[in-house]
């Protein structure tokens, strides 16, 4: 009986220790309401770890950058998978870019609209100069409701860190 309880407890506890440490350059750092961390209070990810998450494909244009731009194929992970991995709980992701720009994105956007964190563009890694390495993208071409300034502002480039919050009023 004691062995069984130990096994059940182990199954619940293991995820908290399952997140490995990054071996390459860190691309993304998660903080806030997360249960699984790998460096201090944060969960840090290198490209390999991000690529290991379930990948989703999305083809769209970034019309607000250039109207003449042709559609590109973007591949990346969903916030839902990322949060599941880090045991994140909350409604808002406070996303910060490399240039320190910050925007709050509701987690529901990843459920309702199928938004992704893109890490590949046309099959290649996205460089910082090309607004990478991570960018939030919505299927703008598929859903005309998304062609609105609210979602254009949420489509943040050069993502460097995410803080998982219960709501936007939560203090950093």
């Amino acid at each position: 009986m004691r062995a069984l309880l130990l096994l059940i407890g182990f199954l619940f506890v293991v995820p908290a220790f399952a997140l490995p440490e990054p071996t390459g350059p860190v691309l993304l750092t998660l903080t806030g309401n997360i249960a699984n961390t790998n460096v201090g209070d944060s969960a840090q990810f290198d490209r390999k770890m991000l690529a290991a998450l379930p990948q989703h494909k999305l083809t769209t244009t970034m019309a607000w950058v250039s109207k003449k731009e042709r559609p590109h194929d973007y591949v990346g992970f969903s916030a839902l998978d990322l949060l599941e991995l880090v045991g994140g709980t909350g409604d808002i992701l406070r996303i910060k870019a490399l240039n320190q720009y910050v925007i709050d994105v509701p987690i529901s956007d990843f459920v309702d609209y199928g938004a992704i964190f893109a890490i590949k563009k046309d099959g290649k890694d996205i460089s910082i100069r090309n607004l990478g390495p991570i960018m939030v993208l919505y299927p703008f071409d598929d859903n005309k409701d998304l062609r609105h300034e609210v979602y254009y502002w949420r489509a943040i480039w050069q993502v460097s860190s995410i803080k998982v919050l219960t709501n936007s009023a939560q203090v950093d």
Binding site: P25, L98, S127, N130, L131, E149, W157
Partner: protein, 601 residues
């Protein structure tokens, strides 16, 4: 005529200004809507440019990023080595802003809205940053001796970066202010347009209010005039009824007067007949006028009665016997056995229609025959009309055909084009088509039926009427009509194929197969039971001997009673019987029944 006047009065009288007002409203609404669409569309475009193509944000981001890059380079020391691509990352971060300022919508905005100096500055900055990047690989490799040179060059670039940001900021603000002013102007125009739109709506409301007032006034006038018209109708009907009441007894008295004139008996009798006929016609004409006026006043009510169709038809045709004789015309009737005998119909009006059409046929036929054929109609019953056929499910067709010289071309044209002959018109009398046909058309339409005709010169005319009827619930159980037990054969001596056809139809119902005599030895060996002669000149001496032979074998010979035959020249005449026209089915049936039954006994 009064009915047409009444119909015309029902339309509201529109004033000219009212129509002009409505037209103005529609045109102004159209123009205003067009203007609103244009201004709102332009306004939305201006807002989009303000929000999404804001170059100011990107130029400030570029300035900030250039300071961060400089700050990063200044702070690098030996302890930070190896840099592991961090210097490249900082440089790419800066250059990503430069790319945004040069390309895409923001670049387009900067090139289009700012002066040439801004573009030149951006080119200089880009070139210098590209040159600085050449030393980055050495720093990444751990050689920090190039750092001073790089920071010095970046600091020298600071003035250009500042000037670029200030220029973009100024030009962008100018552009935004211009756009806002344009947007404000357009909003003001939209406001003016909306005021005009409201004014137009007000105008429309005024027009509607005035129109309603005019309509109400016209409606009131119309009601009053309709009452006046009805009063005139009533008055007219009363006067005519009075005329009929006053004249009828006198005419009837004239009709009942025995011949008391001096002179010979024959001339007295002829004069008396002539007077009676004229009096009858006068009475008939007065009745027709009376009916037409009652119809116009919508006071003529149809009264359905249940009567025998065949008996009624027999009675109607005998009224015209005296009119057929002078011309030697032969009238035959045939009622299709598929029709029920007892039906519900306004027989009084049907009689009027039949007699008028018969009168028309007699007028247009100098010699030959006339037929009246009653048969089921293939026309579907129309909607309930005047309440007379609300439970009707059948249509009766009455066809009256003659072998006359046909209707005059002008009369045909009038019948086809006159509004009187159209069922939806209310004209009561048209002199072009005559009183009798006017009454016919009016009565048929009143009964919910329709009337058509066809006419060919020297071939004859046919009128056919489709009227609704309802079969009586109780029909006579026993049919007393005589039918030969074994089929017999008849031969008709006439050139009138129309007459022969109808005699054939009548005989067929008695189980007698009729054939038309044709010259030659075609009937030599035939056994004939009935011979009908209307034109004896087609009979050759040889045929005469055949007739005698058939007569000796029991055949009945019937001849037109109007023929003046010499018994010496026609040996068959001694045992022949005369046949009078009009000839109805029942007459022929009784005659043949009597003969063939007597023959049996």
């Amino acid at each position: 005529m009064l009915s047409r006047l009444t119909h015309r009065l029902s339309l509201p009288k529109l004033q000219h200004w009212y129509i002009y007002g409505l037209a103005t409203f529609f045109i102004s609404t159209l123009l205003l809507s067009f203007g609103l669409v244009i201004y709102s569309s332009d306004g939305s475009q201006a807002t989009k440019q303000r929000i999404y193509e804001d170059s100011l944000w990107n130029s400030l981001q570029f300035q900030l990023q250039s300071y961060r890059f400089l700050n990063y380079l200044v702070q690098i020391d030996e302890n930070d080595l190896p840099l592991q691509g961090a210097a490249y990352a900082q440089y790419d971060l800066l250059m990503s802003r430069v790319d945004l300022l040069r390309n895409g919508e923001v670049g387009y905005l900067i090139r289009g809205l700012t002066g040439g100096r801004t573009v030149r500055l951006l080119n200089i900055i880009t070139g210098e940053l590209e040159l600085i990047s050449l030393n980055l690989s050495k720093i990444e490799a751990g050689d920090l001796s190039y750092l001073d040179d790089m920071t010095t060059r970046l600091k020298r670039l600071d003035n250009q970066v500042n000037e670029f940001t200030v220029l973009v900021s100024q030009d962008t603000n100018k552009y935004i202010a211009q756009q806002r002013r344009a947007l404000g102007d357009k909003l003001e125009r939209v406001r003016i347009l909306m005021v005009c739109f409201l004014a137009s709506l007000l105008l429309l409301c005024l027009c509607i209010a005035k129109g309603l007032s005019v309509y109400r006034k016209n409606h009131k006038d119309h009601k009053q005039r309709a009452l006046e018209v009805q009063r005139i109708h009533d008055e007219k009907a009363k006067i005519l009824t009075l005329v009929v009441q006053e004249t009828r007894p006198q005419i009837q008295a004239l009709l009942g007067q025995p011949g008391r004139h001096s002179g010979t008996k024959k001339s007295n009798s002829a004069l008396s007949t002539n007077i009676k006929e004229t009096a009858n016609e006068l009475l008939h004409t007065i009745n027709m006028f009376s009916d037409l006026v009652l119809m116009d006043a919508q006071k003529l009510n149809l009264v359905s009665t249940t009567e025998s169709l065949r008996s009624s038809l027999d009675n109607y045709v005998h009224i015209f016997a005296h009119k057929l004789q002078p011309k030697g015309l032969k009238l035959v009737t045939y009622v299709d056995p598929d029709l029920p005998d007892w039906i519900d119909l306004d027989f009084k009006r049907v009689k009027e229609i039949i007699l008028e059409l018969l009168q028309n046929a007699i007028t247009h036929t100098s010699q030959g025959s006339i037929s009246i054929h009653l048969r089921p109609s293939s026309v579907a019953p129309s909607q309930p009309h005047n309440g007379i056929n609300s439970h009707t499910s059948n249509m009766l067709q009455i066809a009256i055909k003659d072998t006359g010289f046909g209707l005059e071309h002008a009369l045909q044209k009038h019948l086809r084009t006159s509004p009187l002959t159209q069922s939806d018109q209310h004209s009561i009398l048209q002199s072009d088509i005559g009183l009798g046909l006017s009454l016919c058309y009016q009565l048929v339409h009143l009964m919910g039926g329709d009337i058509h005709f066809s006419s060919e010169p020297n071939s004859g005319t046919e009128f056919w009427i489709d009227i609704p009827y309802h079969a009586a619930e109780k029909q006579p159980e026993k049919n007393n009509n005589f039918v030969c037990a074994e089929q017999k054969r008849a031969l008709i001596f006439t050139r009138d194929e129309h007459l022969a056809k109808f005699l054939g139809l009548q005989l067929k119902d008695i189980n007698i197969e009729a054939g038309l005599y044709s010259e030659g030895p075609h009937h030599e060996g035939e056994e004939i039971d009935l011979v009908i002669i209307t034109e004896p000149d087609v009979i050759s001496p040889e045929t005469e001997s055949h007739i005698l032979h058939w007569q000796n074998n029991g055949a009945l010979v019937l001849y037109d009673h109007q023929l003046e035959l010499d018994p010496e020249q026609c040996p068959y005449l001694a045992r022949a019987q005369s046949l009078t026209f009009p000839l109805t089915q029942s007459q022929l049936n009784i005659r043949l029944k009597r003969y063939f039954n007597a023959q049996k006994t």
